[in-house]
Symmetry: D5
Subunit: 96 residues, 10 copies
């Protein structure tokens, strides 16, 4: 089941550089692990911002919550969630 | 070059049913043609709405304009455009 | 799988009274049928408005789309969808 | 008398982890006590967020204020309140 | 039980003058009847607008819905509802 | 001359508890003094929030400014002001 | 007593040109009469729009309502009202 | 050339009282100097707020920037700028 | 003197095609005439929309009003105006 | 390929003056270097604010991201991006 998730990162300016680097490293590892597991299907940078557009493929709402709330940057992001489904005009098999 | 395009359709209630059906049929044909041409890379329905989330893959901003302004439903939609690029944490080759 | 759906009805003032009555009657029948089928789990009026707060229990996003887009009043409503899941502090068995 | 209450938690990033854990523990205990007392009728997590959708069943506005303002996380949440009543199309006895 | 209700009237410009006058006359009669019954406790014009701020005193949310939805101008107004209760600093007996 | 004033209190979480208690005590005293003087005509808590709806009865805009800017919590509140006047449908003598 | 009033005109595109011209002529006459009477103290066009910024000098809120609701274009405008008073740093005698 | 400028002051609560007093004193001096020079034509307090409505009379956009960015409180204010010009219905010579 | 003007066109769906074509032709002619006169310095399409971003170079606010209000599509557009001036970091002579 | 980028700077009030000066100096140098390289085609101050309107000319979305995210003030700015393309009514060769 697919969800579009938009995340905008807002780190507090006073966060020490090492702490920021450490969280970002964990975020990257987490994101790649979920991509390899097929849960995080697409991940794009929004050009000109510290934000991304993502497509998640999860079992249900509960798994979406688990996956998103587990993001190392979770408490530093504004997050919006949009449930998706197959579009009647889509011809792409994988987009279901 | 990738763009996220979000479209929400708002047909005027007084539009005759046949006219609506005719525009929608042209919209579907147009959308499928662009998908086959590789320009409209993803097309999802937003669940619970008359809206979609799309990913376009075009040469440049000018082609995006050409493709979006050519939508048969163009003047009946609220449209928002987000330029995308590769995310440093993405592991998916196709998402560039 | 649960979704909160908030619907606000906006009938055009020029709609003839009989047509409005007919759509509303179909809406009521549809809503009751879905309640009996267990898909529309809760339905409350927002006090002081022509709006409701609803909880749907569906298989997945696709079924949510099917059920919501089938509402006779669908094209006359502003609709917002919120995916829900079990809250770790909930003690109510039925709210999963 | 029913109210829909939506709560979004925003803990300051500089709050020490133990303090956060202690407030959350008190919040959980409080929420479960009110659920057992029948005042907090439903409690769902909004998937992909640190937020919930709740249905309260209270005597009147004054009790709603008492119950909500007593939340241990009260001063760390954005809260919106919507008064509900029975919907004429509802078939569920308990939703009055 | 008290509610603040804010109403902004938006009559369609094409409504014939007699029809507008007739609805407004019924609205006035309805408002005065509810004031005499003690249900519509305060009614003020917002200066410089076609809007009002009102305080209703009703049994519960259901009666608020009944009273507000019964307004002759109901479908021509934007309405917002705020549940009120006694303020701990209030010294006015009547404002409970 | 009447004004509706809505105030939402937002104390910084890092304010020491004694300081908060002291400001609130002064606010209460100030509010009650103005009520006794007939300047602060109504004061209600917005249920489920740290906010109030108030009706002030002052000589003119300048006195409103004096009274509101003198609130001990003034710099910790979001405040909105709406000028009111007698509604043509009002039957209540006192609401002028 | 001074109020800033901002007005944005929105005539329906289907209004016949003569009717529009007639309302605008009455609006102009009304505006100039109020200026001569000292009630409409300043009137500026917002550059690049069909809108104005005005300063009214009236007895009280009730007179503001009377003057603004009497505008021939009243039902075709979005209007926002801001109560003003003397600024402690002002050196201009007339701006009280 | 005239501009309407609305300024809302937001001093951080943790700013020491003497520092706040010193900035406000400089702001007042600056405002009065510009009024005497004819650049700051009107200055009103928005009743019930820490905000003002001002009319500036400057040579061009560049001078507006110079004058506004030079405000001692500049970095503590939300500022909106609206370019004005003579209104065709204005009868006041000075408002050009 | 420079202004950024953003225009979004919203033609009513019921406007006959010939009328729309005629207004657009006049708009184009007007836009090109102003460009040749040096008043409309830049004109770009916003990709994926019926909107543009423009830079006007005019004598003052009054000329901006004259030029913008003269647009054949003026009453069918949402328009926002931003006054610009030279940026201290600009190295481009022409951008003053 | 052109993009309009609007940037609003928001430095935290507690940032030491030297640190602010140092970041601004680097920002200026970076901006001028990009202007000389032809990437940052226009740069204007928004009059009366700490904001700018810019036009970037980059290869693609990825280069826009690289250039914008490299701004020394990047994490202290609110940034909005609008993709542009040639307008059919433009007569200026350089604006493609």
């Amino acid at each position: 089941m697919l969800f579009q998730v938009e995340m905008t990162v807002k780190l507090p300016p006073e966060m020490p550089a090492e702490q920021a680097a450490e969280i970002k490293a964990r975020e990257k590892e987490y994101a790649q692990e979920l991509q390899r597991a097929g849960k995080w299907r697409h991940l794009w940078r929004v050009a000109g911002s510290y934000a991304n557009v993502s497509i998640f493929d999860v079992e249900d709402n509960a798994e979406l919550q688990e996956v998103v709330a587990g993001l190392p940057l979770f408490s530093y992001m504004a997050i919006s969630v949009t449930p998706l489904c197959r579009h009647p005009s889509s011809i792409r098999e994988g987009d279901s």
